[in-house]
Subunit: 318 residues, 2 copies
């Protein structure tokens, strides 16, 4: 297989594209011929030596989400047949033209969806769906407020919220961001004064502490705040009394470091609730740019730069 | 009816016991002949003018929990017949020998339970059960840690936790408190170093902010902290990042100010899960002292004093 490797910890100087033997699928795995792989901030952290690969994943091949075609099935794998187009999460090793993945951690790519967009979906939509539906329990008629609405997870959350029958707000700091929120069927609200303009049953926090204590003000009685990102600040002052008075819930969650069963359950819930909307074109993943695998360094530079509008992908068949 | 009233806001000088016409049960209400009524800190707050009676409750008659006998049923009330012994929560007006209450807000007193102990149960056991089971979702095999284990809600929580098959710890500051925790089937742990000695799936916080951030240290992955009391401090510094890493939940909750449906649901869950244990004598409510209704002022003094071991009751038939 051809794969991106890190020869050590550092910047792009440790990034190389090399040939390796194909990985062998375990009993419950499928071996995928990867078409596109999505890049994630965690890949940059791994490059810097701050995010070691989990047990079972190749230590020096980054990459957490892929789309591709089933090339071989493990002896116990029953969900797919050779030739099926699938997409999903891998524990690591996704930046390669072959990867093995547990058959329950991928889903069939719907007919109407191309593999390019499919590779931009897993991390963003699984994270968003797990946060607002499984943890936040958002239902029709409720109101969702998304902080960080312009990113991959945020834009997925806006669309999932709209599709589930909620009224959806995304907080924004610019007119361009407001337009993106509108384009996805939601309503923009200023990041400065959202607490006086919105009362939300579920708040998805992708930015961090700066939105507290306003988040508690904006929360409806029995509301749920789900924290998935704290890049702008990890620690906040919190009124336990206000939490009691609103009978509020604050959830912290991350997708990574979950058990095989947990990841499978996340995928099954996604198949049930989100995949139909993606298949019908009612939701879409944003692709910022596509780089050939040989241009992995340029792709990482793009990933690290500001102002992206969607996912940065590597093309392994281009 | 004979009832305790507040003639204004203040201390015991506003407390009087007077005769009034009996209240009339509404369509779905039952009229109870009250045997015992439990006193609560909220009654003292109402005496001080800081806790107005909710709509529908008499403005000047305090009292939130009672045991008694059904004397009349409203035209639409179907759950009980005249003569049934019942106990439960009232929105107000409980310190009287007659009170009307929605039939779905009371439960039948089990045969083996006397009305004296029954009057000490509702607020403590409903609050504890709603917090650790409905919000905290404690199940068998998990570990529960209770802060404030010596109070009414805390001692109820210890027993409910043991009855549901959990390993239960109560944090304590004295050997006397440790002995009470042991007597209720749980394990005492020092309030000073619980975080290094216990890993809990559910933490019931009845004291407040001083137990943070140690509560987050003591929390198991996917653990739930349920805050029901913050007398020792309402505001805390909270690590949102730690919440994410543990995939933790923080719930605030209170029993009061709930809808008719919510209160009914709390009572039904209590009947299903807690009442069998109370009926069989596997759980018990602690009664500190019983005062005749005419001694309401003395009862309030006792309620306000430290070192109580259980509920202060008023006896309306003694």
């Amino acid at each position: 297989m051809r794969c991106v490797i890190y020869t050590g910890a550092g910047g792009n100087e440790v990034v190389e594209v090399v040939e390796r033997p194909d990985p062998e699928p375990g009993t419950d795995d499928v071996l995928l011929r990867v078409r596109y792989a999505g890049l994630n901030p965690a890949d940059l952290q791994q490059r810097a030596g701050r995010y070691p690969a989990p047990p079972g994943a190749p230590a020096d091949v980054p990459g957490l989400e892929v789309s591709g075609v089933v090339e071989r099935c493990g002896a116990g794998a029953r969900r797919f047949v050779v030739g099926d187009r699938v997409f999903g999460l891998v524990g690591g090793g996704g930046l390669a033209d072959r990867v093995v993945v547990h058959e329950r951690h991928v889903a069939l790519v719907p007919d109407g969806l191309d593999e390019r967009e499919a590779a931009a979906i897993p991390e963003a939509f699984l994270t968003a769906h797990d946060a607002i539906r499984t943890r936040g329990r958002l239902v029709m008629g409720e109101t969702l407020l998304v902080h960080g609405a312009n990113g991959g997870v945020g834009s997925a959350a806006l669309q999932i919220g709209v599709a589930c029958g909620a009224r959806v707000y995304g907080s924004v700091r610019s007119e361009a961001a407001a337009q993106l929120v509108r384009d996805l069927g939601a309503e923009p609200v200023s990041d400065e004064d959202f607490a006086s303009r919105v009362t939300a049953d579920v708040i998805l926090e992708l930015v961090g502490a700066p939105h507290f204590p306003a988040n508690l003000e904006a929360l409806a009685p029995r509301g749920r705040i789900v924290v998935v990102g704290v890049g702008a600040g990890p620690t906040t002052e919190l009124s336990l009394l206000a939490m009691m008075q609103k009978r509020a819930e604050l959830h912290g969650t991350v997708l990574r470091a979950r058990s095989i069963e947990d990841k499978g359950a996340v995928l099954r819930a996604f198949e049930r609730e989100v995949l139909p909307g993606l298949a019908a074109g009612r939701m879409r993943a944003l692709v910022d740019s596509v780089f050939a695998a040989a241009e992995a360094r340029e792709a990482f530079d793009r990933l690290a730069s500001p102002g992206k509008a969607g996912k940065v992908l590597l093309d392994f068949e281009g």
